[in-house]
Amino acid sequence: MTSYQLASVVGRRARAARLRRLLRGKLVLVAAGAVVALVVLAAVFAPLIAPYDPNAVDPMAVSQGSSAAHWLGTDDTGRDIASRLLHGARPSLLAPLVVTVGAGLVGTALAVAAAWLGGWWDRAITAVLDVVFGFPGLVLAVVGAAVFGAGLKIAVLTLTIAYLPYVARVVRGSALKERNLPYVAALRMLGLGGGRIVLRHVVPNLLPLVLVQTATAFGYTLLDVAAFSFIGLGAQPPTAEWGLMVAQGAPGILAGAPQESLYAGLAIVVFVVACSLLGAGLSQRLTGGER
């Protein structure tokens, strides 16, 4: 076998392997994207698709298993679980969306301000964020609930604050690097003001990083929000929300009617797995790393 032939065989094999890897990666990405898209569509069109009113109790159909009338059965007051899951997708998705977008915006603003202004400002902002970092999210949420009463809005607010340092730490590092790049000095020499450079040049360059961070964090934020609702410090009954549904179905598990908890739990896990796969795939694509 000549070296040319060898090279060509090796090349072909490598190409095939790369193609296989790409396809496999793409397949997972497409599947994950499809799951996420389906759930988002279900959340948006829940009132149109849901077969029942999510809060309509039916004393004649309490804690039923799956049937033609109730695909996923009913809960302990006879409410249709499928309809509650569909409607529950709305707060379950919207709350973590607000948290990630809020923490992304405020965290980026703080980080860029700290990196750009430097000196005393940088130290002050970093110190405040370090204190927040010392609080587990749960403690913040508990304090928030104790002060203002338990509710989804308070849970969203406290979680947003809890996530700020995570966003800001990553973004600050990149913003510092960005500030020292030659193009910034060039823009300065052209006579552009600091505000303009930051808003028009530095922030847009940091945007991919922030987006990837936000997309990856979304699934885990959803878990946190659902956990707060589960322990009674998030969404309040009779709201249909996934974490709250797991909690409300829990007594049924011992009574032999686990469907509400199990389906709501399954919805959370499937959606979060899809989200994290999608986030990981997208970040690999955006950063160009093919590992």
Binding site: G134, L138, A146
Partner: protein, 316 residues
Amino acid sequence: MIWRFLARRTVALLATLLVASVVIYGGLFLAPGDPATLLVGGGKPPNPQLLAEIHRQYHLDDPFYAQYWRWLTGMLHGDAGQSLSYHDQVSHLITARIGTTALLIGYATVLIVLFGVSAGVVAGLRGGRTATAVTAATTTLMAVPTFVSAVLLIWLFAVRLNWLPAYGNGTGLADQLTHLTLPAIALAVSWLAYVAQVTRSAVDGEQRAEHVQTARSRGIPERLVVRKHILRNASGPILSVAGVAVAGLIAGCSVVEQTFGLNGVGALLIQSAAKQDLAVVQALALLTVVAFAVVNTLVDLATAALDHRVPVGGAA
């Protein structure tokens, strides 16, 4: 050098805790509503004389810093005030429950170190199919939130198989451990998966390192290569991620205790927050933040002690 590092970290820790205590006390100080009304209870507007008496007794009219100082010095002496909803000393409530929580966290830590680290080491050393299987399993487990795994474990092991109890504390050590088995698994599982992943990639990284290949080529027995060259070098990241996991357990035990009806401080924190029982929430929030920060600092110190490349002197 190491002493200066130690001193600096200790000062930073104390400063963080001091600020945290101001935030916790201040946040709850600002809570709307008069605690005295809560104490009297009942629907009718209470008698103003009684309210004034309660205000005087609980120093409710003092300025913020005086109340904060009284609270902080009280906390340092083990006096956390009175619970309004449990009608008991907060310190009694906590000491009665902290054992359960400590046992739960200890149990979960043992599970994480035993199974998480060993699964990661095996996957890292073997590679191939084993590594793929471990990665797939841990990725899935990491997406299962604690409360869902708790519910699944109750359903599977307590209801379907009837192997283990689902609710309550139990009495005596053996019975307590039986009762804590499902909660500890629920608490540990997603961190266990995370630790396994980090361990796998740390061991895998060392496997490929030049010094390991050199050691192998010199004919050093594989057992020694694994012990002295791979595991010793991989221990830094493993230790630090295990520490992060323990800190996470401190925050996570509330959910587990609540789900399994365990009588621990985590469940107490949630229940008193729902009842807006401020004295209990203040004490427990501070306790949690202290435990969390101390564990994190200890992990940093241990990592620095193990790995001499971590800069302990100048600015990081």
